[in-house]
Symmetry: C2
Subunit: 177 residues, 2 copies
């Protein structure tokens, strides 16, 4: 943050406000504290008859790598709705939320993944979309582990395979030291 | 958002960028799209020997109402860490995360609550804190339902009472029509 989004002032201070415990951007011109918070990535583990639907990324970062359908949650959306929207945008498939499956956080990147187990309502999907170079089902013993885009997907897929019917959410974390 | 936080320009446009599906604030001066996303509120259902620890809010909104300990997740924090931090700040109590208990979203307010079931490590807490007028344990049959601050707390407490050992996350939502 370089300029105050409220008044346009370019002389922001980076201070710990009174009664607070963290540094914040503060605008002395309009007396506004600018809080910055982690973002939610909503996504899913889309299953159909024991197979998982993955999408090969057509965008950076990790262009060309396979991933669970997921993307930034939008204002006005619930995480469940966001997960189903991303599923449809990236794969053309539709489904129903079974349960929340994985919460995977990346504190150093200010991101929290909420990944839902989704039962696909049919085997239909699009082989390519504007966001995916390729879409296809994988049997659980043929997942391309070395070509998975993100740790969040690897963690959720490993958790699912270890215990497909476990109802407790899997809590995972990636910390960069 | 009135001014670009990147260059200070006050002539922002509110447009649907190419390839997008939602209106965004766009700065034509520095070619920046400003995304706005929901915020996470991390909190807990803090239990000790069948009793739940609630805090009476010393801040607006809902000053003087009882609530589960919860607050905005900070950058650099996992939701689990945020929940335990808020627990300590609001009640002085410490505990361990048992599991994720409730995900309650308010799409119209761009908020998502992540509430963890927390096993308190002792019966100790502070009777008042800078954020709480009063802190105390409640038996589950004496919860002051009409004095609970937020729907998220009511939903989580009702879900807990209905099924204390249920491992599946309770998914709730408040939609303003
Ligand atoms: Zn300002
Ligand atoms: Zn700009």
């Amino acid at each position: 943050m370089k300029f105050c989004s409220n008044c346009g002032n370019g002389d922001l201070e980076y201070i710990i406000p009174e009664g607070d415990h963290k540094h914040r951007y503060y605008c002395p011109n309009c007396d506004t504290i600018h809080y910055q918070n982690p973002r939610i990535i909503a996504g899913c583990v889309p299953m159909y008859e024991g197979k998982v639907l993955l999408a090969k990324r057509a965008i950076e970062p990790r262009y060309g790598f396979w991933n669970l359908p997921a993307g930034f949650l939008e204002n006005g959306e619930s995480p469940e709705d966001g997960a189903l929207r991303e599923l449809f945008e990236e794969t053309g498939a539709k489904g129903e939320v079974n349960r929340l499956h994985t919460v995977f956080s990346l504190p150093n990147f200010n991101q929290v993944y909420l990944l839902f187990l989704v039962d696909l309502t049919s085997e239909e999907y699009e082989a390519t979309t504007s966001e995916s170079l390729e879409v296809r089902f994988f049997e659980l013993d043929e997942i391309p582990w070395k070509e998975i885009a993100f740790e969040s997907s690897t963690f959720a897929l490993e958790s699912y395979i270890a215990s497909p019917s476990k109802e407790k959410v899997n809590l995972g974390q990636f910390v960069k030291y």
